[in-house]
Point group: C2
Chain length 208, copies 2
DNA sequence: GAATTATAAAATGTATACATTTTTGATTTG
DNA sequence: CAAATCAAAAATGTATACATTTTATAATTC
């Protein structure tokens, strides 16, 4: 469990070259553990998209695939509004207030790094989604978000887009506060679609 | 890997009582293997919804939860049309013909059992979806379908609904053949929604 | 010399043994 | 007597050792 987190972090930092098959013994030695926990961690990371099967033998770090990112955001764009729609009736002042606190925390000076922003951003969204009390739907959405993490990674999004994104966040809270659920869901859909477009465009650029 | 399939089949047949925690040693002994492959299989089954974590220790067979089923179908209803929409332009005569063959195979006399019908039904859908060439989207949809398997299980759906379902399948092929992609997607959405309603209604009935 | 088969090496899968954690039951204490 | 603490047990997590499978290399054959 601990190894899983460490491996994921190291994958996120690009410690292992994409395309190269990873060997259990190498990893075991590298982290000073036996192959058993390595197997567990690799299996989990594979199921979460951080690794892909490499033929019959072993696993490899997959390359970043713009189409995969596009699909992930396409799905989130269609699923997350479902959660928000169901959460809306349960969003009381406390929950909305907490969400606002998170947004405020994102606007520090100097600005936070991409990783911290990403984390807060997701906390904002889950804070709202949890109120839907729909664990199954929530879990799937969370899994999709985890897969997206691999793409969001450590690239700093442009400050310009970060501003737009924040504006939309505040707007979303506003709409929810005023009970405009439908409008909020539509905005959320567009918000995710826009994030997807920015990411895919970035990935498709010739030289990364 | 072999153990995974066997365990899943046994879970599907209700060999283990829901709510009762499963112990690795028991399962290992029951299948005549050591605990290592058991751990692997349990982890995978847990990630696929066949088992849930039971506190800090062990896993348990979850009860059938109508709301979970509802969520699963809600998601499928929103995602599968996306696949079909993207598959439509690539659906040539061969693929549509193969899909029709599957439908024909479902109408034997005497009728097939629920398990066989379910398998063919999913083959029909995947045959179409694969043409979208969208592995990420496809995988998520397939995972959702796997989670649904637990609910579809071995309950024979009413013959009445089976008829309706088949009619919709043929209708879907018709629309695709005539290039009416939008109409086909809408029909698919309703088709899944209807299947979900039937299932949830069945699950919510007092005595199962 | 190319292709195919045989062989050795390397990696994964599994069993056994041990360490750690968690639960359970009893015992003590207020 | 209830609650809390401690000890023994049972279950899980991990290391080491072995078996099986897969890949790479060498040898043989046409």
């Amino acid at each position: 469990m601990d190894l899983y987190l460490q491996l994921k972090a190291d994958l996120q930092h690009g410690l292992f070259a994409p395309g190269t098959p990873l060997k259990q013994s190498e990893i075991a030695e590298h982290y000073g553990v036996s192959r058993i926990p390595v197997r567990d961690a690799l299996a989990r990371l594979k199921s979460e998209g951080w690794l892909t099967g490499h033929g019959k033998r072993g696993v490899a770090v997959p390359l970043l695939d713009p189409q995969e990112a596009e699909d992930l955001y396409l799905m989130r764009m269609h699923l997350e509004p479902l959660l928000l729609e169901r959460a809306a009736p349960n969003l009381n002042g406390e929950l909305l207030g907490r969400a606002r606190d998170i947004l405020d925390a994102m606007e520090t000076n100097p600005p936070l790094d991409a990783a911290a922003l990403g984390q807060l951003n997701w906390q904002f969204h889950t804070g709202l989604y949890r109120a839907a009390a729909r664990p199954t739907l929530f879990n799937t959405v969370e899994q999709l978000q985890r897969q997206c993490e691999r793409y969001i990674g450590y690239q700093n999004r442009s400050l310009d887009y970060q501003d737009t994104s924040q504006r939309e966040h505040y707007q979303l809270l506003e709409l929810l506060q005023r009970g405009k659920t439908d409008k909020a869901c539509t905005l959320l859909e567009q918000h995710i679609a826009a994030a997807g477009r920015v990411l895919v465009a970035h990935l498709s650029k010739p030289r990364d």
